[in-house]
Amino acid sequence: MLEGQMEVTVDELRGLVSERAIQGETMLLNMGPQHPSTHGVLRLILELDGETIVNLVPDIGFLHTGIEKNMEAMTYEKALVMTDRMDYLNNLGSNLCYCLAVEKLVELDVPPRAQVVRVLLTELTRIASHLLWLGTHALDLAAMSVFLYTWREREILMDIFEMCSGQRMMTSYFRPGGLWRDIPQGFEGAVKQFLELFPERIREYESLLTENPIYIERTKGIGVISTEEALEIGLTGPILRATGLPFDMRKAQPYSSYEQFDFEVPIATNGDTYDRYIVRMEEMRQSLNIVRQALDRLPEGPFRSNNRKFVPPPRSELGHSMEAVIHHFKLWTEGFLAPKGAVYVPVESPRGVLGCYLVGDGGPKPRRVHFHAPSFANLQALPMLSRGHLVADVIAIISSLDPILGDSDR
């Protein structure tokens, strides 16, 4: 009887759900992929006993676009645009991760100005990502106004990204060797304005949620995980830090001059959904702190490396320098050659450890690019976190993991 009602055969479900579900004793409920609370195209098969989750099977891949395969067919510089399209809330962070990997593979130096601008913009991206997270997380838990407020501030950041790169989201602003172009006029003023405005706004969000009894009721003690379990299942980022372990790649293995910045790694102790909220709110403050320092010490100088074997010459040189024309032509047709070898560069994305594994084969195209996506790793913990909770809690748990399906499916 059960077989006729379902699109998949019972055999396909065997092993995924308990024997009770096959017998028809517990209920199987499909959630997603087109469900507003799954933050994208995440599909879940819920096995329910009444309203309690017995088991949960995530089904991902609906947003798989073959980014890694496509990057293998492009030269190193051209492949960069694919990284924007991966984690669409952390475009500059993914740009940075890929650029660092390329720079490490070909041993290319980045001037100090570019490094500091990279830190500044990556931190603004982290704030933008956390804002979107906060808005949708609160929306999932029926706190509508937070969403409207966070969207308002996110728009300011989007304008800043557009100012630099010409694009709100698909930035491709960081390039191997530095930046696409120098930061524009008015950039510093815009960031300063945001710095003045934002601390007050964080307090505003907190006044809506931190002591809100409905919010506390729905998040405290929901999706609890210990540090050991989190490491076992590969959780990183704010979720791991909410269990009490102050592990942050920016501190552990500093990159792009993070070692020169003074900031704290916020932690909480209970490892539940509420604590993840607390950690992310504090992270926004720390990011703001880093942005402030970056703006104060922004060094003068070139914004990209002068190594013409890897970095194209400025447009102005093309009119009078034959050598510049040759370099320009070589770099935009063949691209630069990278040596044989493999590098792995982990960075801290807003969601956790984002790693780029890059293999060069002596040619102008990467042999293999792999991104260790934090959303992919974090989603794996979803069944473990949800078992025994109610269906409504699954909504809170999903959003507390902050999965970006573009990131997990690539």
Binding site: E12, K69, L231, Y357, Q380
Partner: protein, 170 residues
């Protein structure tokens, strides 16, 4: 000696001849192992506080042999050290033992590698496709899998592209 170096020396002593080589490239250490030693190496490293698996993937070196390379990146939060493990696999239907029993988080990563490269993981609890549809044919990240669009052939790359354009020639 850094923590990673000390650990690798100890790993070499533990695995003896199954530890083939250690490679240092751009300040990163990678141990090259025999395929059957992977689980033991992971157990060893986990006992030494390398508790976080932060990458598990493969690379296809087609048409060279050995064709596939499995790569594991293990991180120790306590020691703040990163160690890579690399395993070469021969042939078109490679196999490597699953490390899911040591690092539970390897579950999805191994599924992804199986999906994308067609590498089999004996001992895996639930080896299904994860990103591609369940009835998909072929393994997209293999080098002889077509790109999905017609690549333009010039004289300098004619042979190179010709080798993987099997569909256009039929």
């Amino acid at each position: 000696m850094t923590e990673a170096e000390t650990t690798l020396v100890a790993l070499q002593q533990a695995l003896e001849e199954r530890f083939l080589d250690s490679v240092e490239f751009r300040d990163q250490l990678t141990a090259v192992l025999q395929p059957e030693a992977v689980v033991e190496a992971c157990q060893f490293l986990k006992r030494r506080d390398f508790d976080l698996l932060i990458a598990l993937t493969a690379a296809d070196h087609w048409p060279e042999e050995p064709r596939f390379e499995m790569v594991y990146q293990l991180f120790s939060v306590k020691l703040n050290a990163l160690i890579g493990l690399s395993v070469s696999l021969e042939g078109d239907e490679p196999k490597v033992p699953s490390i899911e029993s040591v690092y539970p988080s390897a579950n999805w990563h191994e599924r992804e590698v199986f999906d994308m490269f067609g590498i089999d993981f004996p001992g895996h609890s639930d080896l299904r496709r994860i990103l591609m549809p369940h009835d998909w044919e072929g393994h997209p990240l293999r080098k002889n899998y077509p790109l999905g669009y017609e690549e333009v052939q010039f004289s300098f790359n004619f042979d190179d592209i010709d080798r993987r354009k099997k569909y256009a020639k039929d």
